[in-house]
Subunit: 120 residues, 2 copies
Amino acid sequence: MVIVEVLKALADETRIRILNVLYKETLCVCDLEEILKLNQSNASRHLTKLKNAKLITGTKQAQWVYYRVNEKILEEYSFVNELLKKELDKIPQCQKDVARLKKYKERGGSCEKNVRIDDN
Amino acid sequence: MVIVEVLKALADETRIRILNVLYKETLCVCDLEEILKLNQSNASRHLTKLKNAKLITGTKQAQWVYYRVNEKILEEYSFVNELLKKELDKIPQCQKDVARLKKYKERGGSCEKNVRIDDN
DNA sequence: AAAGTATATGATTAAAATCGAATATAGTAA
DNA sequence: TTACTATATTCGATTTTAATCATATACTTT
């Protein structure tokens, strides 16, 4: 059951948080590490699970891999679209993550630069 | 994260199958056992998980507990509504289960009667 | 070519989840 | 009251999942 594989990929807090920020902006693994304070290998592993469920797509550019939400699956499964569009913004943790994303961007955060959000 | 608890409850094939038939009709545990060929304790446990996630409601009547989809959560979370309304009918296994539900009803299946679907 | 950086993967551990058999609990029938 | 039925819960075994550290792989810089 493909649907259940998609639901399994969605049924994890960290992956929901990842999807939330990737829905707003294309980011690479190290971006996500900084914004969401994820361990590198854990970030990579979660991204792989989302990619395997076709929820995100990855594009390699030099040594960086940029991930973004896969628009095709939003068309195919309207419930995923509803979830991303209507529900994630209501979650306090996700709101915090979006704020961190903005702060990261304001500081010129990107893969090529080693930008920190937290000042300690 | 409440949403993740809901998603976790949804992220299981057996529970999807249960939701599919409960979306069509109120049923008790023993109904579900026969229609979906579930082990009694497993059926009960899955129903408990769905109930804890507020996806279904249970009503006790004598020794029987009747379960149905919780309409309130469909209003609260439109993505669940989309999933139940748009996706489950597309799943072959779910289609089979609905056929079994009909057959069960045609044979007068209910809690008070010991109705079998499979003739062996 | 060696060193450095980004990311995926292997290994390991701990926690969570699943399942069937057995049993406890609650309600009904005899 | 005892026997029966429906359902929830316990128990034990197994599987799955999540996380971190270490390492492999791929690309860039020196």
